[in-house]
């Protein structure tokens, strides 16, 4: 009788062990599937979102700075990096080629304060060698008021110079004699200074300190 009870207990233990090992195997399998789903979803989502995040901002590589101005010369050459190519694909821009010219962007003045539409600025000094240049004001969204009365752009052919060939442009909401541009109505704005047919865009040379116009802030309206 005792042997019989012992045998039953052994059988029950064995069955319990088999059930618990089956449950463990099922749990392991389910956990592995969960891990695979987790890895695939996290990998794809992370990879795609990080790619989209990278192409929404400004060009991450090839940035060249001179005074208050920033340019990306590689955009116009075959050395363009894959991120810049992807950004151009997203924003639809057609950059200037190295053989065409070079665009300099400024969103801050010489002291690195953001350009403020309520302030007066003086853009003065030398300009690098170029057949022509243009200077255009845009709001932070990239909008430009093309109306002549808006006075939001000028070119090297329209600029007045002093006896030494230097130019001075005043950016102000109030009228000024000489070269006068009016900042956009937005609180902040940006300037794009484009050199056309210039040796500066060649990869062998770069502008030295002082060879681009300086942007100095004057008085601000309260």
């Amino acid at each position: 009788m005792a042997d019989r009870l012992s045998l039953d207990r052994t059988v029950r233990d064995h069955q319990a062990n088999r059930m618990s090992s089956r449950a463990a195997a099922r749990f392991n399998a389910a956990f592995n599937v969960l891990l695979i789903v987790y890895a695939v979803l996290l990998g794809l989502a992370g990879g795609l979102f990080s790619a989209l995040w990278m192409v929404e901002g400004e060009y991450p590589f090839g940035r060249r700075e001179a005074q208050a101005w920033t340019a990306w010369p590689d955009l116009g050459s075959r050395d363009i990096d894959p991120y810049a190519r992807a950004i151009l694909a997203r924003n639809g821009d057609i950059p200037l080629g190295i053989g065409e010219g070079l665009a300099f962007h400024a969103a801050a003045d010489e002291a690195r304060f953001p350009l403020d539409g309520s302030c007066t600025y003086t853009i003065a000094g030398a300009t690098p060698p170029a057949r022509y240049w243009t200077m255009t004001l845009y709001d932070t969204e990239g909008r430009h008021n093309a109306s002549p009365s808006a006075r939001a752009s000028t070119t090297s052919a329209r600029i007045l110079r002093d006896e030494e060939g230097r130019m001075e442009i005043t950016l102000s909401r109030d009228p000024h004699p000489g070269n006068w541009l009016i900042p956009p109505a937005s609180p902040r704005f940006q300037i794009v200074f484009r050199l056309y047919d210039t040796p500066v865009s060649g990869t062998l040379s770069w502008v030295t300190e002082g060879s681009l116009p300086t942007i100095r802030r004057g008085e601000c309206r309260s």
Partner: protein
């Protein structure tokens, strides 16, 4: 392997997969984005002259357009033959650039490169260049600039600067007058 170790392994796999997905997305974006300039210019492939896309008083999809510059473009497909781009040098500052999706700008010049008052540029594949060389037998026209394209499809952009407001209409007209034609090679074989 413990649960924690398996979770760590899955996270490492996710990071590797994420890096691959990130790079793949960046690399294929020029071919998949509908906002790419090449995609927007596809309709100009069959046009014989450049189509105005930006300029003084012209509505444009280009970001930060230069209001003093008339911009016109035409897309090309070298499948049927080399692409010929022509524009007259008139005294206004002009520049021409050739773009492809995978290589960006592969050639750009200004009107200073014009020979005999005309900017005459032929874009061709390497195979077409070889065939052209075989057909010409040293009779090559030296007034034409010949460029090897990295890809079979691309687009040309001409910019004409109106340095003064009075030159605006002329700049717009000259940008649109640029010729964009496909000129098949006559293969005797």
């Amino acid at each position: 392997m413990s649960i924690l170790a398996r979770f760590a392994l899955a996270t490492i796999c996710a990071l590797v997969l994420g890096a691959i997905a990130h790079l793949a997305a960046i690399l294929i974006m020029p071919w998949t984005s509908e906002r790419h300039a090449a995609e927007r210019l596809l309709m100009t492939t069959s046009a014989d002259t450049a189509q105005l896309i930006a300029g003084p008083g012209v509505e444009t999809w280009l970001p930060l357009p230069d209001p003093a510059v008339a911009v016109a473009a035409c897309a090309y497909d070298l499948g049927e033959g080399p692409f010929r781009f022509t524009s007259r040098a008139s005294g206004l500052m002009k520049s021409v650039a050739f773009h492809s999706r995978g290589s960006g700008i592969f050639f750009a010049v200004t009107d200073r490169a014009a020979i005999g008052g005309v900017l005459d540029i032929v874009v061709m594949t390497r195979a077409q260049r070889d065939l052209f060389d075989a057909l010409q037998e040293n009779d090559e026209d030296r007034s034409v600039l010949r460029v090897i394209a990295p890809e079979g499809e691309g687009f040309a952009v001409i910019r004409v600067l109106a340095s003064l407001p009075s030159l605006t209409q002329r700049a717009l007209q000259e940008a649109q007058d640029a010729g964009c034609t496909i000129e098949p090679l006559d293969d005797p074989a």
